[in-house]
Amino acid sequence: MSADQASRPAPVVPPEPVAPGPPASRRRRAERPRRSPLRARLRRDWPLLAMVAPGALALLVFHYLPVLGNVVAFQDYNPYLGDDALSALLASPFVGLANFRDLFADPAFWDALWNTLSITAFQLVFFFPLPIALAILLDSILSRRLRSFVQTVVYLPHFFSWVLVVTFFVQMLGGAGLLSQELRDAGFSPPEIMSNPDTFIVLVTAEAVWKDLGWGTIVFLAALAAVDPNLYEASAVDGAGRWRRLWHITLPSLRPVIVLLLILRLGDALSVGFEQFMLQRDAVGRQAAEVLDTFVYYQSIATGDYGFGAAAGLFKAVVGLVLILAANKMAHLLGERGVYSRS
């Protein structure tokens, strides 16, 4: 929108203030029998709608349009049947559930699914608790300067790309890396770390920890800062030692955040750092490093079998949706607030 349009005086709306928030609008609705007519509201709110429009359009084209494009999962999609993707889509024959039948009959798909789920489970046990522990440790540091120094350092790798993270790991632990170099100088034969399929699950978890351990503490630190110190004082006066205070005050205070993050992680159980695996799949091999996302890529765009890959992708999206809805439901049943309890 152009500036002169926007800086025009707002349409005159008599005595009532212009929709300051939900309470006021509700009050107005209660006072008057009907809400103001659509045209008046449009005249009042069109600048807001115009502001939302570009973002909504971007989301429409690059998010919701591809969501609809999932129809190729039910097609024998052939990109050469048309001049562009749309005409090829319209010309490609529908094959019903054939792609899904092929998918579920493909042992490579089940291997990828199994790898994905084991990595998620492994990281839930060996990664998820670490930021909580580090946050509690940081929170107990009295020197503000030391605390913020550590925070500055440990947040940094979160902003590195996976290409960089894997590069650092190769340089430190790889066959020509620092560790091997030092071990060779000391007369040992260096272990194979970066390309060993048996320990790959530990390696990817270590990489994820290196990248996001610090970043993960932020939300817990905020929750810890909001705990009422009087609780600690009162329990200390009552004779609770530091471990009892940790168990009875600190952890319960963190529980809503922990539940929230667990739900989000469960809903995302089928995603395990796509780029991380793309980058290392060739070095480690398909057996250990093929996850659902890389499976989709290698079965569709790399080979041209779009319908089959789209079926795998749609399977992942639908299961992910079911998982997050189920996890949220469970949280409600357990008396937690979950992700989207509010309107």
Partner: protein, 305 residues
């Protein structure tokens, strides 16, 4: 997200009277853990930086990566910046990052402001439209078909448009806007200001923290873009830096090429490490200035949103 978090209060300095002293063992344990965590981040950065600044002789003497600096040799950087593929990739990445961040920020701030007033026309419906994208997402294949179908293959727009609006960032900015007292905007409106003027003259000047943080998120996202370049950019004149880093260093390190890489190790190692350094540098330089806003800008936003 709904988390019961009150704004962080400043703790009084020093140990409260009721708290036990951690003792020598406790202090040692804490110190060890923190030192290990900090070194795990800093040592790789240090080694890469020092190696990139080392001469061929120093690298040969060390047998590879250099831990202790000996002399200063900038030849690796001279080669990188002398106009080869790496210079070009740095230029592409800078361009994509600058244009993309500006574009994303404009779209995000406008939409966040447009969605910040409950009770406005279509407010609930539009909010739902944006938030639904968290639950329902397209797979890789349809996204690829849409982007290529729009003719964006080998265009740098393919690196910008698909991720132009992050709904997460939008929610953060919107929550921040909603924390601004409505009286400010109401008084401007009575004085005859339109929505756009209210946004640029009143809301944005109060929102520097959140715009800085969200701008950093976008900029880092664009600087780090790799997979979309793998998908959409075949012309290696248009490779962004991450794509070059991956093909030049990681692919060179893969088992098949290990022999070749080892043979040419001494002359190229400094150059490789210099590429890593110039990929890290913009992030490491900008981030400390924005870091102090993280908790204020992000937690407040995310927690309240």
């Amino acid at each position: 997200m709904t988390t019961t978090t009150r704004p962080a209060r400043r703790r009084p300095p020093g140990r409260p009277a009721w708290e036990e002293d951690p003792g020598v063992a406790g202090r040692t344990a804490k110190g060890t853990v923190l030192t290990a965590v900090v070194l795990a981040v800093l040592v790789p950065l240090w080694v890469v930086l020092v190696t990139s600044l080392s001469s061929r002789e120093t690298i040969n003497a060390a047998g590879g990566l250099v831990v202790v600096p000996r002399g200063l040799d900038l030849s690796a950087y001279r080669i990188i910046f002398s106009g080869g593929q790496i210079s070009k990739a740095l230029l592409v990445s800078t361009l994509v990052t600058a244009a993309g961040t500006a574009f994303s920020l404009v779209l995000t701030v406008l939409a966040a402001y447009g969605l910040s007033r409950p009770g406005s026309l279509f407010h609930r419906g539009l909010l739902f439209y944006f938030l639904l994208s968290f639950l329902i997402y397209p797979g890789l294949v349809p996204s690829y078909l849409v982007v290529t179908g729009l003719g964006l293959k080998d265009s740098l727009w393919a690196l910008i448009l698909p991720g132009a609006v992050s709904v997460f960032n939008l929610v953060v900015v919107r929550a921040f806007f909603q924390n601004i007292p409505t009286e400010l905007m109401d008084s401007a409106r009575i004085d005859g200001a339109g929505e756009f003027r209210i946004l640029t003259r009143i809301v944005l000047p109060l929102s520097r923290a959140v715009v800085a943080v969200v701008g950093l998120f976008y900029a880092v996202g664009y600087w780090n873009i790799w997979f979309n370049a793998l998908l959409y950019i075949d012309d290696n004149e248009k490779f962004p830096i991450q794509r070059v880093l991956q093909s030049y260093i990681l692919a060179g390190q893969s088992p098949q090429n290990a022999g070749a890489a080892a043979a040419s190790l001494p002359p190229t190692l400094a150059i490789k490490m210099a590429v890593v350094v110039v990929t890290v540098a913009p992030i490491a330089l900008v981030y400390p200035f924005v870091q102090r806003h993280f908790t204020r800008g992000v937690i407040v936003g995310a927690v309240k949103g």
